[in-house]
């Protein structure tokens, strides 16, 4: 998906005026021979401007002084070959931009896609100037990210300023303008406040944002009722059941499950719920509050219910003994947009994911539900992550345009903004939004000793029905080898799957109790 990879070069011989120039083509540019003179003139102007620059861009001249001045031409050349366009100094705004050779991933097509989205959803028409500016914006975003990756921070900062200028020419209430705004913001934070690790709110703030994201879009609802369907079916026939929720939040997932268990044929089971969440800083015990309200609901529908809260700042701090799983209980483990946080790895301690999956496996849960963002935001190279996130969150923002209630929509966008910031601004232990695609999770979980549970036609039918009835047109549910995905138009954004532990083929020599202690 590297937009900078150039295609095959065209022939160098026999330059007819309409033919593409071979030298520039090798660098990824389609420039007609007839326009070469034009391009050369522009480059001369660029040189002049940069050398005799007024104070706003004089720092670029400062940079240049570090190099041998006679290398200016080659420096401009290298700029041209690495970037998709010249530095967008206002004088050159009338230059026809060279398009990269690779047609599959290019911002032009992407622009069309997004423009089409806008026409469908919002009756706004991009003017030619706006469309141009949008293309520029995206180009510069990629350029800036590339320079960040290479450690060229001065250039990156200059590009940020440039993009802010471009933003004023673009409609940033919707579409590319809005998304670009958030990504520019994230890059700014990365460059200008490296001490800060993205946007961190209090647990209370996070709950508010989560709640509005829940209301504004179907993603979390889909996650909840798909996971609940798997849990309900796995609990069939069991009288003592225990759900372990790795991110209780406001417990929005559980009232529906409690009610469905209350009225299941044969009567409700004894239900235990263990809710894991971050500790509250303001003295409120929010886990306990949620637990009490869930208990009230369960009581009102005659379901025997017990709740335990586990406050942990990091998921890997949770240990099996804290969960107090009973021997006869049917256990369900629930990870809604959480499992990826365990991919944060500390060189001194290794990857927590294996340890956690290991003790979960020993609990032998009847079902483990995993819902994750369907994206590859954990790639080692910053630019790859950035590009992927730009695509992913553009699609997400597109889908959010269909929400008409405020402040749900505004706060949902901030919720997403925080994810973006984490992916773009943070590194190391602070970068927790380590989304990986379903295929990777599948091989990882298989490797950890789990086998997939087919989500079943019931889950698919329910998801389809509920979404087609109550969400805007454009969302689609798809079934993918026993897993369900929810996406916007043809792009899956969320993937839900269910898993069961494979019993150990060679039991260890000593007896091991569910807490991984050798007895």
């Amino acid at each position: 998906m590297d937009p900078y990879r150039s295609g095959s070069s065209s022939s160098c011989a026999g330059k007819a005026p309409d033919q593409i120039d071979g030298l520039l083509a090798a660098a990824g540019y389609r420039v007609r021979s007839s326009e070469l003179r034009n391009v050369a003139q522009r480059l001369e102007r660029l040189e002049t401007v940069m050398v005799n620059a007024p104070s706003e861009i004089s720092h670029l001249a400062d940079e240049v002084v570090l190099h041998n001045p006679s290398d200016l031409a080659s420096w401009v050349d290298s700029l041209l070959s690495e970037l998709n366009q010249p530095v967008p100094v206002p004088d050159l705004s009338d230059l026809t931009y060279a398009q990269p050779l690779d047609p599959t991933v290019n911002t032009g097509a992407w622009m069309e896609h997004h423009a089409a989205e806008q026409h469908r959803e919002i009756p706004q028409v991009l003017t030619a100037v706006e469309e141009d500016s949008c293309i520029q914006l995206v180009h510069v975003l990629m350029t800036c990210a590339g320079s960040v990756q290479r450690g060229e921070f001065s250039l990156a900062r200059a590009l940020i300023d440039e993009m802010q200028g471009l933003l004023t020419r673009v409609n940033n209430r919707c579409g590319i303008g809005k998304v670009a705004g958030y990504f520019i913001d994230a890059l700014s934070r990365r460059l200008f406040s490296p001490q800060g690790s993205g946007l961190i709110g209090s647990a209370y703030e996070n709950e508010i944002l989560y709640h509005h994201f829940y209301e504004a879009s179907p993603y979390l609802k889909f996650a909840h009722f798909t996971a609940n369907q798997a849990i309900l079916e796995a609990f069939d026939g069991h009288d003592c059941v225990h759900v372990i929720d790795f991110n209780l939040m406001q417990g929005l997932q559980w009232p529906a499950l409690i009610q469905a268990l209350a009225l299941r044929p044969g009567g409700p089971p004894l239900l235990r719920l263990t809710g894991i969440g971050p500790p509250s800083s303001d003295g409120r015990d929010s886990l306990r509050e949620i637990g009490l309200r869930l208990a009230e609901l369960a009581h009102s529908v005659n379901v025997q219910f017990a709740f335990r809260g586990v406050a942990a700042s990091r998921l890997e701090d949770v240990k099996p003994w804290m969960l107090q799983v009973g021997p006869k209980e049917a256990v369900a483990i629930n990870f809604i947009m959480q499992l990826h946080r365990l991919l944060v790895s500390d060189p001194t301690r290794g990857s927590p994911i294996e340890a956690v999956l290991g003790w979960i496996r020993n609990l032998n849960p009847k079902v483990m539900t995993v819902v994750e963002q369907e994206a590859n935001h954990n790639q080692p190279e910053f630019l790859d992550r950035f590009t992927e996130a730009l695509h992913y969150y553009s699609t997400t923002f597109d889908s959010l345009e269909t929400c008409s209630t405020q402040p749900d929509k505004a706060l949902a966008e901030i919720y997403i903004q925080r994810e973006i910031c984490n992916i773009v601004c943070c590194e190391g232990l602070a970068r927790v939004e380590r989304h990986e695609p379903l295929a990777k999770w599948q091989s990882r979980l298989r490797g950890a000793g789990f086998k997939p549970l087919h989500l079943g036609s019931n889950a698919f039918k329910q998801a389809s029905m509920l979404l087609t009835l109550f969400s805007a047109e454009g969302y689609c549910v798809e079934e993918d080898g026993g897993c369900l995905t929810l996406g916007w138009h043809s792009r899956p954004l969320i993937a839900a799957s269910a898993w069961q532990a494979i019993p150990e083929p060679n039991p260890p020599l000593g007896l091991v109790d569910p807490y991984n202690n050798v007895v």
Binding site: I57, I208, F225, A256, L469
Partner: protein, 453 residues
């Protein structure tokens, strides 16, 4: 070149372009924003109907959420309902399933929801087209209709004694299923059979049960049957629409009466479960007389010898969806409950029967305006209407009551018979199901037609 100082200059354009800037966090209280959960009220005593009570509450909450466009709550409740209301479960579950489908249909029709073709196709109810034999068999399986037939036949026989010509005007849902038994009793009367003229209102709207043959063909069969009993019968069908209150139908009857006014003719108005399709006051924009009132007054003006009014004892007329849903849920549990006693699980016939029930549930819950035709009113209101239209009650004789009782004895133990003043009421486990009333003209009073308000 000044470095961009994020801390002191927050990125301006993002916030200034939001349509309504969100309130600052400290101004939001969790109470305002955390959704209150659905609990069930524990004030109602949970008897045998504990589960049904919960299901009813879920349906009510769902209906309210649909009316208030609360998409999140609707989705949550529908998810629960889908899991607890199996279409092949016990009678409560099947009842709830019928209501669930109707609510989904209603939601699909409301402005905020969009329906894909596949979803619409899945929701379409396939009602069965009965043959005469199938329908006759059905009618015999349960007292639901036989009760009204038996009671009506006894009263009619009584009233037409001595008349050489009997004109039966049949406004019944069941496509003349009563007629063969009526003809049998008339054929056997002591003074010999009269000439029978049978005029039938063929309802142009498609309401279940649907018949797979035309009324003309049906009429031919009935005339032949009468002939086999030595009864000469003339048959006539008048296509009628409930949407104009059967007014063309009444006009035709008037014309017929004029033509035959020289004969001594008994006019019998025999209506079973059909009059509730005539729109009443809640479908009017003006508070003037409804079609229902106009119809009854028009019937009165025909000077009938006897009018039989049999219908289901429930109130489906509320404009309020939740009240209507409750009323329908608390009545239609009865046919789901009774079906276990006369049709085996999984049988084709049970499917047909319940498909017709689902059609009715959908009509009550998902249809509005003129499309909503299932406008049941309870006995008390019909009695008031008849009185206002100039009719007075006639009781049932003991023989008739006895016949009804012995008919009921042939069916399951839950069926019962109640006498309320001069009326008969069919009950199931003590609950009112169908009422049967008989009327004749109020003669002695100076009668002024009263508009029912």
């Amino acid at each position: 070149m000044p470095r961009y100082d994020y801390e002191s200059r927050p990125f301006p354009t993002l916030w200034s372009n939001l349509l309504t800037p969100p309130p600052p966090f400290h101004a939001m209280t969790s109470k305002n924003h955390i959704r209150p959960w659905l609990g069930f009220s524990t004030s109602k005593a949970l008897g045998n109907f504990g589960d049904a009570n919960y299901m009813e509450q879920l349906l009510v909450h769902c209906a309210t959420a649909i009316e208030t466009n609360d998409a999140t709550l609707v989705q949550q409740i529908l998810w629960v309902l889908n899991n607890i209301a199996a279409p092949d479960g016990d009678s409560n579950q099947r009842l709830t399933c019928g209501f669930l489908r109707a609510l989904v249909t209603r939601a699909a029709r409301s402005g905020t929801c969009k329906v894909l073709m596949t979803t619409a196709a899945n929701l379409a109810i396939a009602t069965h087209k009965f043959s005469i034999i199938e329908l006759a068999g059905f009618v015999d399986l349960t007292p639901w209709h036989r009760f009204g037939f038996t009671a009506a036949n006894a009263a009619i026989l009584d009233a037409v004694e001595g008349f050489p010509v009997v004109h039966i005007v049949d406004l019944s849902l069941n496509h003349c299923m009563q007629i063969p038994t009526l003809i049998d009793s008339i054929a056997n009367r002591l003074e010999g059979p009269p000439l029978v003229r049978l005029t039938v209102a063929g309802l142009t709207e498609d309401v279940p049960p649907m018949l797979d043959l035309s009324y003309e063909e049906l009429g031919t069969k009935l005339v032949n049957f009468a002939k086999s009993r030595n009864v000469t019968m003339e048959f006539r069908v008048i296509p009628s629409s409930s949407s104009d209150g059967f007014s063309t139908f009444i006009e035709q009857i008037k014309i017929q009466n004029l033509l035959h006014s020289m004969n001594r003719e008994a006019l019998v108005i025999n209506s079973h479960m059909m009059l509730h399709y005539i729109p009443e006051e809640t479908l009017l924009s003006s508070p003037n007389a409804s079609y229902r009132t106009i119809f009854l007054e028009a019937v009165r003006s025909l000077d009938p010898t006897i009018m039989v009014l049999v219908d289901e004892d429930a109130d489906f007329t509320s404009r309020n969806l939740v009240l209507r849903l409750r009323a329908a849920f608390n009545y239609l549990w009865i046919p789901y409950d009774t079906v276990d006693t006369f049709l085996p699980r999984g049988s084709e016939q049970r499917k047909w029967y319940e498909a017709d029930l689902c059609w009715r549930i959908e009509n009550v819950v998902a249809a509005e305006g003129a499309q909503r035709v299932e406008r049941l009113e309870p006995k008390g209101r019909w009695v008031q209407r008849m009185w206002s239209a100039g009719f007075r009650r006639v009781g049932f004789n003991e023989e008739g009551v006895g016949e009804v009782r012995s008919m009921l004895d042939k069916h399951a133990a839950g069926w019962g018979l109640k006498r309320e003043e001069e009326d008969l009421v069919l009950t199931w486990k003590g609950h009112n199901v169908v009422f049967a009333t008989v009327w004749t003209e109020k003669q002695d009073e100076a009668w002024l037609g009263t508009a029912y308000i």
